[in-house]
Amino acid sequence: MEWTRKDLLSLYDLNAEEIECILDTAAEFKKVSQRRVKKVPALRGKTVVNFFVEPSTRTRVSFELAEQRLSADVVNMQAQSSSLLKGETLLDTVKNIEALQVDLVVMRHSATGAQAFIASKLKCGVINAGDGAHSHPTQALLDIFTMREKKGTVKGLKVTILGDILHSRVARSNMWGLLKLGAHVTLAGPSTLVPREFESVPGVRVCHNLEEAVEGADVVNLLRIQHERQTAGFFPGIGEYARFFGINSDNMKLMKPDVLIMHPGPINRDVELSGEVADCSNSVILEQVTNGLAIRMAVLFLVAGCVKK
């Protein structure tokens, strides 16, 4: 297929063929990273701005490295150093960036839809590196890439996403991507953090009991539990969370023997998962990070090809 989008905003917007196209392209770029010389000239002469209105370390580093390996010119901007602090609107800020003849803007923002809002106003391409609790498409793509690589196909896989679903853009993006590729999705965690409204999506199961949620799972994708959710009254404490919703060697036995244990990071050892589980042979957490680079190279490459000069 031919890629036709100048923006990557959400996996909800994509069809299965487009998702497969990104995954196939990423597989080629993964080979590049395994060579002695890890750089290709695919984006030579293109300028990419990484605009992180919300702080990020790993996603920003992954994007930056992907851009460098594609030979793009890279500029990093953070909210603290941008004019947003001087009262400029987001739209004015990005229009100023565009006026510098930039080809792509990679943006993270705390507000849902911020990237969709600016993408509709800009000629340059926009890649969503996370918007609020809504969407984080490259994270979901790297998760799905890892599943496909390990299991051969995503279709029919039983994938359980466990943790703070309510506040998670990773969960929402994975949900849409996995459903489009034919996986069965279970969203699980404390009832306060996993709203029943998700059951309105065909193919999604909501579960508030850990054992039921992980039984027979092919993949268990864990989400980081944030301390501020405890102070906001969503659950009593880290200890109780670990006891009722943490993955350990015992409840791992309920999953398929070849289950993949995944986590977008940063992990809290002995909270979402025991240290033992994090380091076991089923854990692909570090491979996810490696694959993230290939996915971001693929997305940058495809999207850049559709930005009109």
């Binding site: 609107t89 507000a111 839809g113 809002f117 998670s168």
Partner: protein
């Protein structure tokens, strides 16, 4: 100027009239059409003539945010929408919580206003929900009602005292019903769409709780409390039950809650952001039923102007509110009357006698000798809403491009023609 308005379908709910006939206007008052001296005669065959519409819920933004609206532009918008009286919400900057602020409003309205501006005073100082405002002084200065609109008094004991005190001054309470804890941080309705979009939701129970509180206080104190912009199904149910029991509570519905739902937010257009938020389709249907069966006796716009700059931002960061004066008739007629849900005379009550009764105005009708506040509209006119033509200074509406039926044609305030539709 004197007028004879001929051959209109006159719907005058206060007198139970629905008949084709003529109406005279002489010296600002409704007069016997046979005796009007030197009249301008207008043939209004096929058009509908009613008492002037009253909007219980308008933000005129003056003083404090005259970039978005002024008393002059807001009242011009009201006239263009068929409204002859608007209740000005007191959450201006500074707030209308003193006799001086009300005096400023009245003087400015007298000098620049196009329609009648009915001042509303704050219940608490700075509408901060902490200390009671000078309610007696506000009454003396000319307020017609009290409201902390935009906010809701969370302290139930304080609210009780406000209602008791307001009763002794015979001032209606117009309450924005919202429990802050349940709605905290929310930018849209809590439901399927907030969950799918990952936006902070405002639980419908936030409204239901405060409406319950107000029903209890109205019953205990024996004074009427009006619920502003009712938006969830359960609120309508509570109101219906309380009114059946004879408790003096009333409610209003906005055109947007009657016509739009939370699903519209998936494109992040900030013109769909308001408080209370757009709710589910089930809520919308319940609200329509409530308006149709008379549980809700007023349609009110919650006209809330914001500049394009203020609204052209991330959804989370945009201010709540949309304008409504110039779209209210077309939008609500289409949803309620053209759909066959309501008969026209009953619908007209929601814009005239319904709000008048909530303000304790007696005899709001077109009998001879009354002030000639008159609205004429064309129920057959079909058109596409074009915000570029608005009189309002702001354009923050989700209704641009929407095809509707029913258009305001003529608006008379005190016998003066203040608006006439020009092609």
């Amino acid at each position: 100027m004197n007028y004879i308005l001929k051959n209109a379908r006159i719907i005058d709910p206060g007198r139970g009239i629905d008949a084709v006939g003529d109406i005279g206007i002489e010296n600002g008052l409704v007069a016997d059409p046979g005796k009007v001296k030197k009249p301008t005669v207008m043939d209004l065959a096929g058009k509908v003539l009613t008492p002037g519409f009253i909007d219980l819920h308008v933000h005129l933004r003056q003083p404090g945010n005259t970039m978005a609206e002024t008393i002059a532009s807001g009242t011009a918008a009201a006239a263009a929408g068929g409204f002859t009286s608007v209740v000005a919400m007191p959450n201006t900057s500074p707030a209308a919580d003193t006799a001086g602020a009300i005096e400023y409003l009245r003087q400015t309205a007298a000098r620049t206003g196009v329609v009648r501006v009915l001042p509303c005073g704050c219940m608490t100082k700075g509408y901060a929900g902490q200390e009671m405002a000078g309610i007696g002084s506000l009454k003396t200065a000319g307020v017609v009602a009290l409201s902390d609109d935009g906010k809701c008094i969370q302290d139930h004991a304080l609210m009780r005292h406000v209602v008791e005190y307001a009763k002794s001054f015979e001032l209606p309470i117009l309450d924005h019903c919202e429990d802050n804890c349940l709605a905290a941080g929310g930018v849209m309705h809590e439901g399927k769409w907030s969950v799918l979009l990952g936006m902070n939701g405002m639980n419908g129970a936030a409204e239901e709780l405060m409406i319950s509180r107000n029903i209890i206080l109205a019953r205990q104190i024996g004074w009427s409390i009006h619920m502003q912009h009712v938006s969830v199904k359960e609120s309508v149910d509570l109101l219906r039950k309380a009114r059946a029991e004879g408790i003096a509570v009333t409610g209003e519905a906005t055109p947007h809650h009657l016509s739009l739902t939370d699903e519209n937010i998936k494109k992040y257009d900030t013109n769909y952001k308001m408080n209370p938020p757009l709710r589910s389709e089930e809520d919308r249907q319940a609200l329509i039923r409530g308006v149709a069966d008379g549980t809700i006796t007023a349609i009110a716009t919650d006209h809330a102007p914001h500049t394009a700059t203020a609204k052209l931002v991330e959804f989370d960061h945009a201010p709540f509110g949309i304008i409504g004066l110039e779209t209210a008739l077309g939008v609500t007629y289409t949803v309620l009357v053209d759909s066959g849900i309501m008969q026209l005379p009953e619908y007209v009550k929601r814009l005239t006698t319904g709000p008048a009764e909530i303000l304790r105005m007696k005899g709001y009708d077109l009998s001879e000798g009354k002030a000639a506040d008159i609205t004429v509209f064309d129920p057959e006119a079909e058109y596409v809403i074009d915000p570029a033509k608005f009189k309002s200074k702001s354009r923050n509406t989700p209704f641009g491009g929407r095809k509707v039926k029913c258009r305001p044609l003529l608006t008379f305030v005190g016998g003066k023609l203040v608006y006439s539709f020009e092609g």
